[in-house]
């Protein structure tokens, strides 16, 4: 009798245990203002895309909790000659489909990242050649001595050669030309999470990689990533518990989220600087009523724009204090920041008007401004405020604010006259600002994000020298000179450094990296 009772109870107990197991799988639901535009790690050099994809694909070296360099797919590296670097690759690493990771994959990724359609050219632009020593060692040969090469490699993610070949994805997805391939919707990396399901713009889900080569500190088994564009809806989703983590918390709602007993806001400075760029190359602007000449070629016009922008007003009302106005395109946290150049030109509408008169535009002119509406904190509102500011000096801005899915392909093809861009120096070194943003567009990703083609031969020359210089004192002197020239030229109009605002449930521990990266392997959900 007794026996039978235990026997009848046994299946029930088993079922309960099974239930217990399934319930203990930790699911993390993340809401963001936008989506990664593709799963291809070489298609767009954008922080959100790289931070999402960075959980699936890995670089040779990465950044740890303290943002310092740590080994990832390379175990160690050293400079064997001024232009030669030896990288030893990690053994026994498998891609999610089981293919082993070898030196051939690295060489394949080098070719892929420097391909015409790649947005990551500036990450491998200094590399002349990669030589295979054996399956787990490579020599990277640079065109000139380049001491910060390892820093640069943190942004260069590794795909599987075999997988790309089988899936016809050997060339990067290029949204500027409307080229999509399997790598847009599928992924096969070596990272701690694997892509399970991808619905662009709706929902992407990821599961923990059981075969991961390293230790995963966090306890998250499943990540569901949902883009929620509307600020209020995103806050409502967090407040109602529909999502666990959200980024960014709209600046107007920070206090409300903080005031909720179950939630917290993790704040910190972000390395990102938001700035405005102007087409200084074409002889006639694409989108303006000024014909036969390009007003932005005149420094006085650029300066008038700069001085007409009420940056403190934007900081106070649009950003509600969650931004720091800057005078350079890099924040103080980035190596090479020069405090002696951190004074902005004063906000002065009368001086700006005078400059416009001197430049021959007493009545102003009309120009289109391109702006994203789901990329940077309050991006569209900043542009609206700038448009209002500029109307005071007679400039009529035709604001075109749109989602980044159409915005980036447009401005990256330089199809713009006046645009907004935000930049994080992912190497935490000024070279990653000088080379892609301030140098004249050219080979190897040089000036790839200098979308208005600001060009000063001296800056180009100094940038080249700064890349190879190892003497810190000499290097800093050159950095000062290059930044000063760019600042005096008003090559771009710097706005502000934005702040990070991540909202989440109180029981979640995340590591907030200053480049706005959120590595899921560090995330811990406490009971």
């Amino acid at each position: 009798m007794k026996l039978t009772r235990t026997m009848t109870l046994a299946p029930l107990a088993l079922a309960l245990m099974a239930l217990g197991f399934t319930a203990s799988a930790v699911t993390l639901r993340i809401g963001n203002q936008g989506d990664a535009l593709s799963m291809d790690p070489h298609s767009l050099n954008e922080s959100l895309q790289l931070t999402v994809v960075g959980n699936v694909y890995e670089p040779l070296l990465t950044r740890g909790r303290d943002y310092k360099l740590t080994p990832a797919l390379a175990t160690d590296w050293k400079q064997t000659a001024p232009t030669v670097w030896r990288f030893n690759l990690r053994k026994n690493v498998q891609f999610h489909d089981g293919t082993p990771f070898t030196a051939d994959d690295v060489i394949f990724n080098y070719e892929r990242a420097k391909d015409d359609g790649s947005d990551m050219k500036s990450y491998v632009g200094q590399v002349k050649e990669i030589k295979k020593i054996n399956d787990h060692a490579i020599d990277v040969i640079t065109t000139a001595p380049f001491p910060i090469l390892p820093e640069l490699f943190t942004g260069w993610l590794m795909m599987s050669k075999k997988w790309c070949e089988t899936n016809q994805a050997t060339k990067p997805v290029d949204r500027r030309k409307g080229i999509e391939n399997a790598a847009s919707f599928h992924a096969n990396g070596t990272g701690p999470y694997r892509l399970r399901e991808r619905q662009p713009g709706v929902r992407s889900s990821f599961v923990r990689n059981g075969n991961y080569w390293g230790k995963i500190d966090g306890n998250v088994d499943e990540v569901i990533f949902t883009p929620i564009g509307n600020d209020a809806t995103r806050v409502a989703a967090l407040l109602s518990g529909e999502i666990d983590v959200m980024e960014p918390v709209p600046v107007q709602d920070v206090d409300r989220v903080k005031g909720n007993a179950k939630l917290k806001v993790l704040q910190g400075p972000e390395l990102r600087v938001v700035f405005l760029g102007m087409d200084q190359k074409r002889d006639e602007l694409l989108f303006s009523n000024v014909k036969g000449k390009n007003p932005f070629k005149d420094k006085r016009v650029r300066q008038a724009f700069y001085q007409a922008i009420d940056i403190d007003g934007i900081q106070k009302t649009v950003m509600r204090g969650a931004a720091t106005p800057v005078a350079l395109l890099l924040p103080p946290q980035v190596n090479g920041f020069d405090a002696t150049l951190s004074k902005r030109l004063p906000y002065n509408v009368d001086a700006a008007k005078k400059l416009m008169v001197e430049a021959g535009y007493p009545a102003g002119f009309e120009v289109k401004m391109n702006c994203p509406n789901d990329r940077y904190v309050n991006d569209e509102r900043i542009c609206q405020a700038v448009a209002a500011n500029l109307s005071k000096i007679g400039v009529k801005i035709n604001l075109e604010a749109e989602t980044k899915g159409t915005y980036f392909p447009k401005i990256l093809s330089r199809n713009t006259s006046f645009y907004m861009l935000g930049w994080v120096a992912s190497t935490v070194d000024v070279h990653n600002v000088l080379y892609p943003i301030m140098s004249s567009p050219g080979e190897g990703g040089r000036g790839q994000f200098n979308l208005g083609a600001y060009s000063n031969a001296k800056v180009d020359e100094l940038t080249q020298a700064i890349g190879s210089e190892t003497d810190l004192k000499k290097r800093n002197a050159m950095i000062h000179e290059a930044l000063k020239i760019h600042q005096d030229d008003i090559g771009h109009i710097p706005l502000h450094q934005q702040a990070l605002n991540w909202g989440m449930k109180k029981n979640i521990d995340v590591v907030q990296l200053p480049g706005n990266e959120m590595p899921w392997k560090f995330i811990k959900v406490n009971p």
Binding site: G313, R381, S391
Partner: protein, 303 residues
């Protein structure tokens, strides 16, 4: 003019109007709204589209009766320092313009097709009415969303003007069905009446009979329907704009204003979204009440 007004006042409709306080109140509200939006340039205290008058330091001020408010901005300001009251008047203008334009177009389209279907009968009738069935089987907003979406995809770099065009077309294409159905029903009744037959016998062409004899006799219900549909069109426009496929933020309609303001609802800045919402309710409610009254006034059974 005076004579005409007197005649109107003395008619059945005039009597009914004077005996209905609801209709009078609704008409008053609707007229004030229409007046303010038509003459927004003169009536509004500020011009929200003149960017050079905006001051960022005036952004997000609460309504004037709040301790932090300013008497300069009666209903407060939005995040760019735009006066909400003025934005409402300009926004209502866009909403009303889109509403009226799409109703006029759908009346033209619906009445023509309904008349043809009812008068010609046969395969024309069958084809048009099946088309109506298909249109009616979808919620209007879904069809409008589809058309607006397709319109945007076809012209990605379109100018603002085109956005309004797409908006009007999409509302028109969802609205005409009702008129077509109503007019077809009435036409079926009218076409067998003696006066039509008499016209036929005397050799009047089909087109002329439709235009001169049948049309005036089927227009009554269309008028009622159109009045009510103005409110529906305004609401569809607001919904589309709220969903982000309608009027652009640079020339905001009421729906766009509600959408933009919605972002601030959680942070306590309720006035940015509540006032446009109230304005929308006022306009659509008053127009709807007027339509209801007109229906009753024109219904011989209730007289």
């Amino acid at each position: 003019m005076k004579q005409w007004l007197a005649r109107l006042g003395d008619s059945d409709i005039g009597h009914s109007f004077r005996n209905s306080p609801v209709a009078m109140a609704a008409a008053a509200v609707a007229l004030i709204c229409i007046f303010c939006s038509l003459f927004a340039n003169g009536v509004a205290p500020h011009n929200p589209f003149d960017l050079s008058t905006l001051e960022l330091s005036d952004a997000r001020l609460p309504p004037a009766w709040d301790a932090l408010g300013s008497s300069k901005y009666l209903l407060g300001t939005d995040d760019q320092g735009r006066d909400i009251l003025s934005a409402l008047m300009f926004g209502a203008r866009i909403s009303l313009a889109v509403g009226f334009a799409s109703v006029i177009l759908s009346v033209l389209l619906g009445v023509t097709l309904g008349l043809l279907a009812g008068f010609l009968g046969g395969w024309v009738d069958a084809l048009l009415m099946r088309l109506c069935d298909v249109m009616l089987s979808f919620p209007a907003i879904l069809v409008a969303l589809l058309i607006a979406g397709v319109g945007r995809a076809l012209f990605p770099n379109a100018q603002e003007g085109l956005a309004f065009f797409v908006l009007i077309v999409s509302i028109t294409l969802t609205g005409w069905v009702q008129y077509a159905r109503t007019v077809r029903g009435s036409t079926l009744v009218e076409r067998n009446k003696e006066y039509v037959q008499a016209a036929r016998v005397t050799g009047v062409s089909g087109l002329r009979i439709m235009r001169r004899h049948v049309l005036p006799n089927v227009l009554g219900p269309v008028l009622v329907l159109a009045t009510i549909q103005v409110a529906t069109a305004i609401i569809i426009e607001a919904t589309l704009s709220f969903l982000g496929v309608g009027a652009p933020p640079t020339s905001p309609s009421l729906g766009t204003l509600i959408r933009v303001g919605n972002n601030y609802l959680f942070s306590g800045e309720w006035w940015i979204t509540v006032f446009p919402g109230l304005m929308l309710v006022l306009i659509s409610l008053s127009v709807n009440l007027l339509g209801d009254w007109l229906r009753d006034a024109l219904n011989p059974k209730l007289r």
